[in-house]
């Protein structure tokens, strides 16, 4: 089953005739040219061995089995000699075939790996606007399924197609050499087979597409029904749900039946053409033999070659479909590769030695989508060490302030400055290392708690213990059997929302950033965690320029200044006492929280 993470892409067909596309694909494979050349060379050997065997069969019959001119002992010895040769060629064929498969797999996989890394690398450098506009599932599909599709083409198709081509020309060459008239007759069948194949591959592609779409529908329906089973049962909707499912299931059955019919017609048709070939060989070849223009051995060899001849033709349609789907993937991959959604980099990015933490928004205007400004002429100065709380309803622009400060986005108008320097002139990595961010959703790496706290920094145990104490994690870590080396994240221990928050504070304290951004969690944590988080917050805020997106009133009260935002504008600011006294929007917010 393809794992699409909820992202379902309509099948598209690549343009097989697009030269520009092919050039890029070839360029990708170029660094692996030794492997590709080796695989092609091996192809000749594989084909050679395959063709030699029926020819040896012919020699055995014509030269010895029916050759009454020779003595019996001589004939038997001849057979033994050729049989030995047969054995040898057979073994060689096996070995070169195996080598070819390995070389191909290795080369193809290396190309894919390089592509995947290149794409991933490119992707991580893109700006946040790009990630907001592109669903995650789509990007994951590019990195995994699309690249996988191309691999199919590299390993199984391109070289086997080459194999087949050499094979067919080889067979035709041998047939012409043995008897050109009969060979010409055989060659006349090729367009018929190819035409049939192309017609069939067109039909089967449509059939498969319909099947996949219907299976995806069944899956989506199942997922929804199972997730909502309680609702379905409580609202007594079982009969309708069952009927809808049966309908979907039956449609899927009908689509698969259609595919069976198409396949059921194609295979027999090709074999019928094969029978025409056999009939032709017997009739025409027989007449030639009677006329003394051909030997029985040649006739038998012709019959054997026909079998080899039809096999690759039967598979041609499958391969054509793979190439088409791979090209569609390639097109999508290159499109992603070509996206230039990068933050403009400064000519000489600055990395100041010291950061004081003075932040200024100077007449900033910004919107995520054109024509929908989120911030309008927004100005704000935060002095080093000041604690600023921002309150306001969802959509008031609180988070946008943070996104701009982290330089996930650049402002449309105005400037954002840190210590008087425009963020656009700073090295983004340096900038982000100066800003500590504690978010609602804390990312937990799968690794030990120690790794999760230190990330890339280094700190001795004593220092780490001190930080654990300040982040209120000491008791928690002490209770764990393996302490700091306890595995967390995927496959490890689960952390509660409260514990995750504390972990984020510990990370921040390790890095000792000058600016702290705290996006408080709205989710309910229990009273004990609440207390811990409060103490950790207090420890973290001390001495840092802090911006708090506030939900908890306790933190708001501690702030030096409170900003009330509405629709991208500051509508009130001042200390808690001042704002309460003013009886404005802030006061009303408090009131509703109170429930009085």
């Amino acid at each position: 089953m393809r794992n699409d993470y909820g992202y379902f892409e309509e099948d598209q067909l690549g343009r097989v005739g697009d030269a520009r596309l092919w050039r890029r694909i070839i360029l990708l494979g170029l660094p692996e040219w030794p492997g590709i050349v080796l695989a092609v060379l091996l192809s000749f050997l594989v084909v050679g061995c395959g063709l030699a065997l029926p020819y040896l069969l012919r020699l055995v019959i014509d030269d010895f089995v029916v050759n009454t001119a020779l003595g019996q002992a001589e004939r038997l010895a001849g057979i033994a000699r050729l049989a030995g040769l047969f054995l040898l060629v057979m073994a060689a064929g096996f070995i070169v075939n195996f080598c070819q498969v390995l070389v191909l797999a290795w080369t193809g996989q290396k190309i894919m790996h390089r592509m995947r890394q290149m794409l991933f690398n490119h992707l991580l450098g893109l700006n946040m606007r790009f990630f907001n506009n592109n669903p995650g599932g789509k990007l994951v599909t590019r990195l995994t399924n699309d690249i996988q599709n191309m691999n199919e083409m590299f390993t199984s198709v391109i070289v086997t197609l080459f194999n087949d081509f050499i094979n067919l020309t080889g067979i035709l060459a041998v047939l012409f050499w043995m008897n050109w008239r009969l060979a010409l007759l055989m060659a006349a069948l090729v367009p018929l087979v190819v035409g049939n194949t192309i017609w069939f591959s067109r039909l089967s592609r449509e059939a498969f597409r319909a099947i996949r779409t219907h299976l995806a529908r069944i899956n989506a329906f199942l997922q929804e029904s199972l997730a909502g089973i309680a609702i379905i049962q409580l609202f007594l909707r079982e009969p309708e749900t069952e009927a809808s499912f049966k309908k979907l299931d039956h449609e899927y059955y009908e689509k698969s039946l259609y595919q069976i019919k198409i396949f059921g017609m194609f295979m027999p048709l090709i074999e019928l053409l094969g029978a025409v070939a056999i009939g032709a060989i017997i009739w025409y070849g027989g007449v030639q033999i009677m006329a003394g223009a051909m030997t029985i051995g040649v006739l038998v060899a012709f019959l054997s070659y026909m079998r080899l001849f039809f096999q690759p033709l039967k598979e041609l349609s499958q391969k054509y479909a793979i190439v088409q789907s791979a090209l569609a993937s390639a097109e999508r991959i290159f499109e992603l590769q070509d996206s230039r959604a990068l933050l403009p980099a400064a000519a000489n990015p600055q990395r100041p030695a010291h950061c004081r933490g003075r932040i200024e928004f100077a007449r900033v205007g910004f919107g995520y989508a054109p024509g929908q400004p989120v911030l309008k002429d927004f100005s704000l100065t935060i002095e080093p060490g000041e604690i600023l709380a921002i309150v306001g309803a969802t959509g008031s622009g609180k988070s946008t302030v943070i996104n701009l400060l982290e330089r996930f986005y650049d402002p449309d108008q105005g400037r954002v400055l840190l210590d008087g320097v425009d963020l656009r002139d700073l090295d983004p990595e340096w900038l982000r290392s100066q800003i500590g961010l504690v978010m609602q959703d804390v990312f937990v790496l799968s690794g030990t708690i120690r790794e999760n706290i230190l990330l890339d920094s280094h700190l001795d145990d004593a220092g780490l213990q001190a930080i654990l104490a300040r982040a209120q994690l000491q008791d928690f870590v002490a209770r764990l059997p393996e302490g700091l080396d306890t595995k967390v994240g995927e496959g490890g221990r689960d952390l509660s929302a409260g514990e995750r928050q504390l972990l984020a504070f510990a990370r921040l304290l390790v890095r000792d950033c000058r600016v702290l951004i705290l996006d408080e969690a709205t989710s309910s944590v229990d009273a004990e965690s609440e207390m811990y988080i409060e103490q950790a917050t207090r420890a973290s805020l001390a001495g840092r320029t802090s911006i708090i997106i506030a939900h908890r009133l306790s933190t708001v009260r501690r702030a030096d200044r409170i900003l009330v935002m509405e629709k991208g504008e500051i509508i009130e600011q001042g200390s808690h006492a001042q704002l309460v006294a003013a009886h404005g929007q802030y006061y009303r917010l408090l009131e509703s929280g109170n429930g009085s």
Binding site: L102, I231, G279, W283, G595
Partner: protein, 604 residues
């Protein structure tokens, strides 16, 4: 179609689900489609028989040529005969593909229908144990394995048997010793195919596993991209992706090595037999034991044997997987809902909406600690009851029990004064509107989602329900209004919007009992309060049970249940609880610590 669920009898034991258990499970389907299967297999037999005829015709032609007795008319006759037989093969082949493969699709469809209608009858305790992803894999991957075994597997098995027996018979007719000799490598081929296809399966599983790790890594990186950027961790992620990618390359090459052995090996063994025919058969012609025509026909029969021999290993594998998958499906089919109504239910009580819980204990299966312990409370018809308590105190479990999603042991839950176990399940459920904590909306229009429980609802009813839940204006702001589609292809709704639509879905039903499990956590406090007040007014004569992690919106409830560690520690009005329950008072203080500033007297 109603007969599907009675069509087969699931095996009652889970252990030792072997080949014969699988056969018993699918036998009814074989019986249902027996005519189709019979004709299909006859067509298959015809294909195999006709295929054997062609080499005989070729032999005849070659022998004619060798003996010099051939004439053009005789040769044309032979060629036409071949064409005629081939046409027969083509028609028969189409027939069996259509009939037998069609059967496997019918089997798949019927099994899926059966599975789904059975799933619809299972209850919460079952879904607690089986994740949705696992069930979906059953309905797709496992059923596909069963379909393959029942279609291609069946055909290949029948085909391999008929073909090999017939080819062998013809070969033995030409020369028994030569036949025995050429057969020597064949068992080797079957054995090798079996061993290697197992290794391929293992290798493939490993590659798939590595692939899903790679996918998950990419997904989680992209989903958390802002964090990685903020923490300057992108380089580390690229390294991690590289590491996984290399492991994936390695596993793929390993798999290719097995593939690379299997297929050439099959050819090798086939050619080994050909070598034996060449060496010994050639001798037999020379010593005039067999004719040259026999020799050529023998080679043709040999080609026919290669495929069945390879198929044996493949078919064994196919059946094995089919049986394993069927075993997994059977596990679901033997599951029985724990929550079933009585055979002879009592008449529904007159006092609908009156709920009493007496000495209720409840624990999830396989968990030692009970979730609810000795719960006692009474709710009068028409009351508005709030439930508060910390995360994990058992609020949601209690809601699930009250909504009749979990079974209750007898004499603990009284519905209108009657033990709920004595009442018809559907009858009880039809008087409850429940809004679970986790929002589930379906991929259809907003209107259809709100009218989910009552598809006949009028637009006015739908809009009224939406208005009470404070979502009407927001719905109207969408370009398509109430016809806006929900889900992947539709509009992206916020958590709060989804919650309010789910609430409206319950409100529309106007049932006697409404249970709302913390269903407004994603909307801000002001809105939550307004909605709950509107609900209280709207449901003035209905029993309303509302869980919230915020106390403020529940202040005016007729009664508040305070839960802690799976027990109801207090019940009363807000004022009473503030005065006499220190636990409740503590939660209140925590939630409004700053608000009490200078205003304590206001709500004390």
């Amino acid at each position: 179609m109603a007969g599907v669920s009675e069509a087969g009898k699931p095996q009652q034991t889970m252990a030792d689900f072997g080949f014969f258990s699988a056969v018993r499970l699918v036998r009814p389907f074989f019986r249902r489609y027996r005519l189709r299967l019979l004709v299909g297999l006859l067509a298959l037999l015809a294909v195999d028989f006709l295929q054997l005829v062609i080499p005989r015709i070729i032999k005849g032609a070659v022998d004619l040529l060798a003996s010099g007795a051939a004439s053009e008319t005789l040769l044309v006759d032979k060629a036409l005969l071949i064409l005629l037989v081939a046409a027969g093969i083509a028609v028969s082949r189409f027939l069996w593909r259509y009939l037998v493969l069609g059967f496997s699709r019918l089997l798949e469809r019927d099994l899926r229908d059966w599975l789904f209608s059975h799933l619809l009858r299972l209850d919460y305790p079952f879904f607690q144990k089986k994740p949705v992803g696992e069930i979906m894999a059953l309905a797709t991957n496992d059923l596909a394995a069963v379909q393959l075994a029942g279609g291609m597997g069946l055909v290949a098995a029948a085909d391999a048997c008929i073909m090999s027996l017939a080819a062998l018979a013809c070969m033995a007719y030409i020369s028994l010793p030569l036949t025995l000799l050429t057969l020597l490598p064949m068992p080797l081929l079957a054995l090798l195919t079996r061993v290697l296809s197992r290794r391929i399966h293992k290798g493939f599983t490993r590659v798939q596993h590595q692939f899903s790790k790679l996918t998950e890594f990419a997904r989680s990186t992209i989903a958390n991209i802002h964090l990685f950027k903020a923490y300057g961790r992108t380089a580390a992620q690229i390294r991690g992706f590289d590491y996984l990618g290399r492991a994936y390359v390695r596993d793929n090459v390993r798999l290719a090595a097995v593939h690379g052995t299997l297929f050439p090996l099959a050819g090798l063994v086939g050619n080994l037999s050909l070598f034996l025919v060449l060496f010994f058969g050639g001798r037999l012609v020379i010593v005039q034991k067999i004719s040259i025509g026999d020799f050529v026909a023998f080679v043709s029969y040999l080609y026919m044997l290669t495929w069945p021999m390879m198929a044996i290993g493949w078919v064994a594998n196919l059946f094995q997987r089919g049986v394993t998958s069927l075993g997994r499906i059977n596990e679901v089919l033997i599951a029985r809902p724990q929550l079933v109504g009585p055979e002879a239910p009592l008449a529904p009580p007159a006092a609908v909406g009156e709920i009493e819980v007496r000495n209720l204990d409840f624990g999830y299966e396989g968990q030692e600690r009970p979730v609810l312990q000795n719960i006692n409370f009474q709710i009068k018809a028409g009351e508005f009851v709030g439930v508060v308590g910390k995360t994990g105190s058992g609020k949601s479990t209690l809601c699930n029990i009250l909504a009749r999603l979990y079974p209750v042991a007898g004499e603990a839950f009284f519905w209108g004064g009657v033990d709920v176990n004595q009442l018809d399940l559907a009858a009880v459920r039809s008087s409850i509107a429940y809004v679970p904590q986790e929002v589930v909306l379906f991929s259809r229009s907003i209107a259809a989602n709100i009218a989910f429980g009552k598809p006949s609802a009028s637009q006015a009813e739908i809009e009224e329900a939406a208005a009470i839940c404070g979502i009407h204006d927001e719905i109207m702001a969408f370009a398509d209004g109430y016809q806006t589609m929900v889900g992947e292809k539709g509009v992206k709704l916020s958590g709060g919007q989804r919650q309010r639509i789910a609430l409206a879905r319950a409100v529309l039903l106007k049932r006697s009992v409404v249970i709302i499990d913390d269903s407004l956590s994603a909307v801000d406090m002001e809105t939550e309060q307004a909605i709950i007040q509107a609900l209280a007014r709207y449901f003035v004569n209905r029993t309303c049970i509302v869980v919230s992690h915020r106390i403020a919106p529940l202040k005016n409830a007729d009664s508040i249940l305070v839960m802690a560690d799976g027990a109801v520690v207090a019940q009363g009005r807000h004022g009473e609880l503030m005065a006499r329950n220190s636990f409740y008072a503590t939660i209140c203080r925590q939630q409004r610590v700053d608000l009490s500033h200078g205003e304590e007297g206001h709500h004390a």
